[in-house]
Amino acid sequence: MVPLSWYLTLGAILFAIGVAAFLVKRNIITIFMSIELMLNAVNLTFVAFANHWHQVSGQVFVFFVMVVAAAEAAVGLAIIIAVFRTRETLNVDQVNLLKL
C-alpha cells in the first residue's frame, strides 16, 4: 500500500507547480490551467486523507470542489472571451487597466 506521505508530497509538488505557473506565465489560459492544477492538488490531499482516516467527508468535499471548479471554469472562460474581444490579447500584463 502506498503510504500517505507520498500522496501528500505529490499534492504539494503539484500545488507548487500550479503556484509557480500562475506567477510566471502571462497567457490567461495557462494561468487558468494552473488554477485548475492547484485545485486538483488539493483534491488529491483530500482523498488521500479520506482514505487514510476512513472517513467519507473528504470524498464529499472533493465533489464540492469539482462543482465549484466547473462553475469557475464556465464563468472564467466567458470572462476570458470577453476580454479577448475587447483587448485582442490574452497577455495579462496588458490587461492592467484597473488601477489608479
Binding site: L23, D93, N96, K99
Partner: protein
C-alpha cells in the same frame, strides 16, 4: 390643595399665544383686516378675562391670598421639583391689568399705525407673543417660570426691535438689546442657583417663607449676594446703569412697540421682580442701598442726556430710562408700593407719549427730528391735546397721575428712616426738574412756533441724497410703505399743511390713555393731601407681611412720637410736594423761555458751554467707552486669538492635518494597486506563504 376657587389663570397667557400662533402660521394668507381682528380678539379676550379675574379676586377672603394655582409638575430632578403654576396676589393683579389693558389699547393703535407697513401679520404675531410671555412673567408662581417669561419678552423685544430687519441699524439694535439683556439674565440665573442651593425650591411662597425667619443681614452674605445678583438681572431688563444702553437704540422698532415693550410693560419687569422679591431685599439692606443709588443715578443721568436729544423718540427713550430709575429708587428706599404705583401711572402716560409721538411721526410722513417739527398744534389737535395731558402728567403737575406717584417716591426717599436720605431726594428732585424741562422742550419744539422744514425741502431737492446722515435712518426706518410711495409729491407739498391727523383707530387709544394718565393717580392720593392712599393699602399685604417684624422693631420707639409729629410730618410732606411742583413749573418756564420765546437762546448756550453740550449730545460717550473697554477687546480677541489662533491654528489645523496625512500615506500605499494580476497573485502567494510558515512554526513549537 387650595380651597379657594379655580380661576383657570392659565387661560390669560394662553389666549394671546393662540392669537400669535394663528397669525404666525396662517397670517400670510389672511387679509389685513382678518389679521387685525385675530390679534385684537385674543388680546382683548385676555384683557376681558383679566377684568373678570379682578372682579372675582375682590371677593376672595384675605386668607386665601396669594391665590396659587398649580397645574402640573414641570421639572423633576432628584428632590428638586418645579410646578407649572400661577400666582395671583395684589401685585400681580395690578401688573396683570396694566399689561393686558395697556397692551390691548396699543394693539388697537397698531392696527392704524402699521396699516401701510409690510409684514403686517408678522407684527401682530410678535405682539401677541409678547403679551403671552409678559403675562407668564407676571403670573408665574416661581422664579423659574418668571425667568421663562423674562427670556420670552426678551425674544419678543428682539424680534420687534429688529422688525425692519432690512435696515442695518434696526438689526444691530435688536442684537444689542438681546445681548445686553443676556448679561443681566446671567446674574439673575446665578441668583436663582443660590436660592436653589439655600432653599431647594424656587416657588415664591416657599422661598419667602424660608427667608422670613432669617435675620437681617448687614454683611456680604447669602441674602445680600442673592439680592445683588437679582438686582443686576433687573438692571438689564429695566435698563438701569450700567446696562441701560440698549433701550435708546431699541427705538428702531415701530413706535407702538416702543410704547408697549420699551415703555409700559417689559422694561418694568425688573421693577416688578424686585418688588416681588421684597422680602429678600428687606433682609439685605446693603442691596437696598445699591438699588436706591443705582436708581437715583440712572434717573439723573438719563434725564441729563434727554435734555439735548433731537429725535423725538430718543427723548422719550431717555425719559423712560430716567423714570425707571425713579422706580428703582422707590424700591431701594423700601417704598415698593410707590414704585409699583409709579410703574402703573408711567405705563399710562409714557405709552401715551409714545403713541402720540407715533401719531406725530405718522402725520409728518416719518419725520422724527424735532428740529424739523413745530407749529403742529393746530394741524393735529387731538394728538396735541392728548400729548399735552401726558406731558403735564410726566412733569408732575397736580392733579395728573405723575404728580402723585412721583411725589410719593420723593417723599419716601426723603422720609424713610432706614433707607432714605435727603441726598436721594435731592437727586430725585433735580431729575424732576430736568424731566419737566425736556418734556416741555419736546412739547414746544413739536407743537409751537413755526414749522421748520428739513434741509432738503428748502433746497427743493426731490431725492433723499442730501439727507443729513443722522436723519436718514430715522426716515427710512419708519416708512417702508408710506414715504416711498408718496415721497416725490409729498416733499413739495409739505410746507402747505400736508400734515394730516391720524385716523380714529389711532386717536381712540390716545384718548383712552389720556384719560388714564389724567385720573390714574387718584387711586393713590396721599393722606397729606386729603386722600386715603388706597393703592398703598391695597398692596400692603404683599409688601408688609414679610417685613412686618423688622419694621415693628424699627418703629417701636418712634411710635408714640408719630402721633404728635403727625401734623408736623404732614406739613413737611406738603412742603416737599410743593417743592417738586415748583421745580416742575421751573422746568416749564425754562423750556418756555428757551424754546418758545427766544428760540435762538439754546444755540447760544450750547455754543458757550460746548464741552458740556458735546458730552450730553454724545451721551457721555458711554457707548464709545463700552466699545473701547468691552466690545472691541472681545471682537479683537475673538478675531486674533479665537479665530486666527484657536479656530484656524488648532481646530482647522487638526482637521486639515488629518486629511493631508492620510492623503500622503495613501499616496504611498496606492502603488500596490497596479492593475497587474500577476503582482496581485504574488502578494497573495506571499501572504499564504507567510501564513503557512507561521503555522509550521507554531506547530513545531
Amino acid at each position: 390643595m387650595n380651597p379657594s376657587p379655580n380661576f383657570n389663570l392659565w387661560l390669560i397667557p394662553i389666549l394671546p399665544l393662540i392669537g400669535s400662533a394663528i397669525n404666525g402660521i396662517f397670517g400670510k394668507r389672511f387679509a389685513r383686516s382678518l389679521v387685525a381682528t385675530v390679534a385684537l380678539v385674543f388680546s382683548g379676550a385676555a384683557f376681558g378675562y383679566a377684568l373678570w379675574v379682578t372682579a372675582q379676586f375682590s371677593s376672595l377672603p384675605q386668607a386665601s391670598i396669594p391665590h396659587i394655582e398649580r397645574l402640573f409638575v414641570w421639572i423633576q430632578a432628584g428632590n428638586f421639583s418645579v410646578d407649572y403654576g400661577f400666582y395671583l396676589d395684589q401685585l400681580s393683579l395690578v401688573m396683570l391689568l396694566v399689561v393686558t389693558g395697556v397692551g390691548f389699547v396699543i394693539h388697537i393703535y397698531s392696527v392704524g399705525y402699521m396699516a401701510e407697513e409690510g409684514g403686517y401679520y408678522r407684527f401682530f404675531s410678535y405682539l401677541n407673543l409678547f403679551l403671552f410671555f409678559m403675562l407668564t412673567l407676571v403670573l408665574a408662581h416661581s422664579y423659574l417660570l418668571m425667568f421663562v417669561g423674562w427670556e420670552g419678552v426678551g425674544l419678543a423685544s428682539y424680534l420687534l426691535i429688529g422688525f425692519f430687519f432690512l435696515k442695518q441699524s434696526a438689526a444691530q439694535a435688536g442684537k444689542k438689546a438681546f445681548i445686553t439683556n443676556r448679561v443681566g439674565d446671567f446674574a439673575f440665573l446665578l441668583g436663582m442657583f443660590l436660592l436653589i442651593r439655600q432653599f431647594g425650591t424656587l416657588d415664591y411662597d416657599k422661598v419667602f417663607r424660608g427667608i422670613a425667619p432669617m435675620p437681617v443681614e448687614h454683611s456680604l452674605g447669602f441674602l445680600t449676594i442673592t439680592a445683588l445678583l437679582m438686582m443686576f438681572g433687573a438692571c438689564g431688563k429695566s435698563a438701569q446703569i450700567p446696562l441701560y444702553v440698549w433701550l435708546p437704540d431699541a427705538m428702531e422698532g415701530p413706535t407702538p412697540v416702543s410704547a408697549l415693550i420699551h415703555a409700559a410693560t417689559m422694561v418694568t419687569a425688573g421693577v416688578y421682580m424686585i418688588a416681588r422679591s421684597n422680602s429678600l431685599f428687606m433682609h439685605a439692606p446693603i442691596a437696598m442701598g445699591v438699588v436706591a443709588v443705582i436708581g437715583a443715578l440712572t434717573a439723573i443721568f438719563a434725564a441729563s442726556i434727554g435734555l439735548v436729544q433731537n429725535d423725538i423718540k430718543r427723548v422719550l427713550a431717555y425719559s423712560t430710562v430716567s423714570q425707571l430709575g425713579y422706580m428703582f429708587l422707590a424700591c431701594g428706599v423700601a417704598a415698593f408700593s410707590a414704585g409699583i404705583f409709579h410703574l402703573m401711572t408711567h405705563a399710562f402716560f409714557k405709552a401715551l407719549l409714545f403713541l402720540a409721538a407715533g401719531s406725530v411721526i405718522h402725520g409728518l410722513g416719518g419725520e422724527q427730528d424735532m428740529r424739523h417739527m413745530g407749529g403742529l398744534r393746530k394741524l393735529i389737535p387731538w394728538t396735541f391735546w392728548t400729548m399735552t395731558v401726558a406731558t403735564f402728567a410726566i412733569s408732575g403737575f397736580p392733579p395728573l397721575s405723575g404728580f402723585f406717584s412721583k411725589d410719593e417716591i420723593l417723599w419716601k426717599a426723603f422720609s424713610d428712616a432706614q433707607h432714605g436720605s435727603w441726598i436721594l431726594w435731592l437727586v430725585g428732585l433735580i431729575t424732576a426738574g430736568m424731566t419737566s424741562f425736556y418734556m416741555f422742550r419736546l412739547w414746544f419744539m413739536t407743537f409751537f412756533g413755526e414749522r421748520r422744514q428739513p434741509l432738503h425741502d428748502a433746497h427743493q431737492e426731490p431725492t433723499g441724497a442730501v439727507h443729513a446722515p443722522g436723519a436718514a435712518p430715522a426716515d427710512v426706518g419708519h416708512q417702508s410703505g408710506v414715504a416711498h410711495s408718496t415721497a416725490a409729491p409729498g416733499h413739495s407739498a409739505h410746507g402747505g399743511g400736508h400734515v394730516h391727523e391720524s385716523p380714529w383707530i389711532m386717536l381712540g387709544p390716545l384718548v383712552v390713555l389720556a384719560i388714564g394718565a389724567f385720573v390714574m393717580g387718584w387711586v393713590g392720593i396721599p393722606q397729606a393731601l386729603g386722600g386715603h392712599n388706597n393703592f398703598d393699602q391695597f398692596l400692603s399685604p404683599v409688601f408688609h407681611t414679610s417685613s412686618e417684624p423688622a419694621r415693628a422693631v424699627e418703629n417701636f420707639p418712634a411710635e408714640p412720637q408719630k402721633t404728635e409729629n403727625a401734623g408736623e410730618e404732614r406739613g413737611l410732606e406738603l412742603t416737599l410736594a410743593g417743592t417738586s411742583v415748583g421745580v416742575a413749573v421751573l422746568g416749564f418756564l425754562l423750556a418756555w423761555q428757551f424754546y418758545y420765546r427766544r428760540p435762538e437762546l439754546p444755540q447760544r448756550i450750547a455754543a458757550s458751554m460746548s464741552g458740556a453740550y458735546r458730552t450730553l449730545i454724545n451721551k457721555y460717550w458711554v457707548d464709545e467707552a463700552y466699545y473701547a473697554a468691552l466690545i472691541n477687546p472681545i471682537v479683537d480677541g475673538s478675531r486674533t486669538v479665537l479665530w486666527r489662533g484657536v479656530d484656524v491654528g488648532v481646530i482647522d489645523a487638526l482637521v486639515n492635518g488629518a486629511g493631508t496625512t492620510s492623503k500622503e500615506a495613501s499616496g504611498v500605499t496606492r502603488r500596490m494597486q497596479s492593475g497587474s494580476i500577476r503582482s496581485y497573485a504574488g502578494w497573495v502567494a506571499l501572504g499564504a506563504a507567510c501564513v503557512v510558515a507561521f503555522m509550521i512554526y507554531a506547530g513545531t513549537r
